[in-house]
Symmetry: C2
Subunit: 321 residues, 2 copies
Amino acid sequence: MDLLDSIRSRMEELERELIGRLKSRVPVAFEIGSHIMNSGGKRIRPHLAIISARMGGYTGPDAVKLSGAIECIHTATLLHDDVVDKADTRRGQPSANSLWSNEMCVLGGDFILAKAFSALTSIGNIRILEIISRATERLSEGELFQMMNIGNMDITEEDYIRIITDKTAVLMEAACRGGAILGGLGQDQEDALAAFGFGLGIAFQMTDDVIDYRSEKATMGKEPGKDIAEGKLTLPLINALKKSNDMERERISQIIRDKRVSAEELLWIKGLLERQGGIQETLEKSRSYLNDAVKHLALFSDSEEKAALKRLAERILHRTY
Amino acid sequence: MDLLDSIRSRMEELERELIGRLKSRVPVAFEIGSHIMNSGGKRIRPHLAIISARMGGYTGPDAVKLSGAIECIHTATLLHDDVVDKADTRRGQPSANSLWSNEMCVLGGDFILAKAFSALTSIGNIRILEIISRATERLSEGELFQMMNIGNMDITEEDYIRIITDKTAVLMEAACRGGAILGGLGQDQEDALAAFGFGLGIAFQMTDDVIDYRSEKATMGKEPGKDIAEGKLTLPLINALKKSNDMERERISQIIRDKRVSAEELLWIKGLLERQGGIQETLEKSRSYLNDAVKHLALFSDSEEKAALKRLAERILHRTY
């Protein structure tokens, strides 16, 4: 049975909620919002929120609202990321900022963010609002810290973890905690679900950063080597650099200064990352975070929902294994 | 006695709140935020919120939080506006996006916006959250609608009113309504203060749009003719175009297509606007909105606070008269 099966009806409701929520008297606001909303996101955060709420027996409409709000926040940051990264594509489709101007996308992102807070407000739970607004702060802090480290060859693993914590893990943690609150779970179980979401987020981002070096555009809809071309040093490269000689470091440094990577260079880097174990170490670390994440679910007795969360964790591994 | 006198202590508190609120583990987030916060804003929205709360006898800390949040939202939109408009200066100082990259300013604005919602959440009043998040939606809708009309020579007065309603009046209305809620005022008085803030906002934006044609850079810190160079047709020009002949229309259309205005052209446009009454009509309309705004205060008996709101309205007139 597929993970989606148990909550599919909720996901259809979510899609309606997302698109309905973005209605605006200003057509372009709706067009930008629905374009990026419909561009094939995996809806991981909504899954986390809806399943977490169900872990406490809650199946009401607020879980859909919460999910919609969190997906909106995530989507708004994607829009602003694409502006920041000057991306041409997103998930294999033309990016919003290639269809509309960067300026429109900045304002469109603000619109989606405001819609998210309206949706959250309509749930009427101050604790959930606290958690999500704090997570949104950290999201932008993570993006800013990442940008400060563009081209920084000396970035450490600790810096990298801090970046992905803020830009990815904290919102997944918040999705689980928000759902748990809706489910009326006790503090221990709420904390356990939050820890699960956090670990899942770290693992997800690590595998995402591996995919950046492994993907073929045709299959993944992602341009391989995008991170290094943008001067973003992620864990596979950070790991490999530790074991690289001066010549290798200098070649990588040159690519980063040039802000582009040729097919030949990318092939060389991929070889280096495999040879030095940069990819392997990252995948092992990702697996370790996932295993720890799943351990937090031991607090719950077996259920369809618990099984769904475990399958979600496995799926994240299988994106690359 | 100056308007500020009666609430000066609150404003000092506000400045501390604003700067304190923007603290971040990521130094650049704080630096961007505090740069734009310290660049000499008039703090009209905070005044409105604090005085409105005092109209109901409330002088506690939540009025400062509300004010800080609203000023943050306003400031975040200024940051994103400067990115959108590619502005070099803001209030006579270098704009944030001339000191940091556009990308940093996009993310910095997101950070400030998230901080605003955290501050609002900490007040713990769902109605206030509803009002402010809805106002924030409309703010970005107004900015988007304005952008859709860049270079549109056929923009109507109705379109213009809709733009300034969303981008300026609604947040001033929300500041007053939010303060009124903190003050525990009844629905009639809350609505009256909201209507006051709304009218003040419309009048404020109209005079601001007049200043764009009247200011000297040295005194106002604003580059005159910025709006037309950006293709934004505001009420003075919309009014004047109605009475212009084909040659005049064509010359204006050419300036808008060129996206820049020479000193000579600006002088000619200013002359046209004065001659055709575009400036005068705008100022009269602004005065009329202000008069209507002040009438809503009749619901309140005389007080230091009511006098302060009236002085605030007068000040808006005297920016240009």
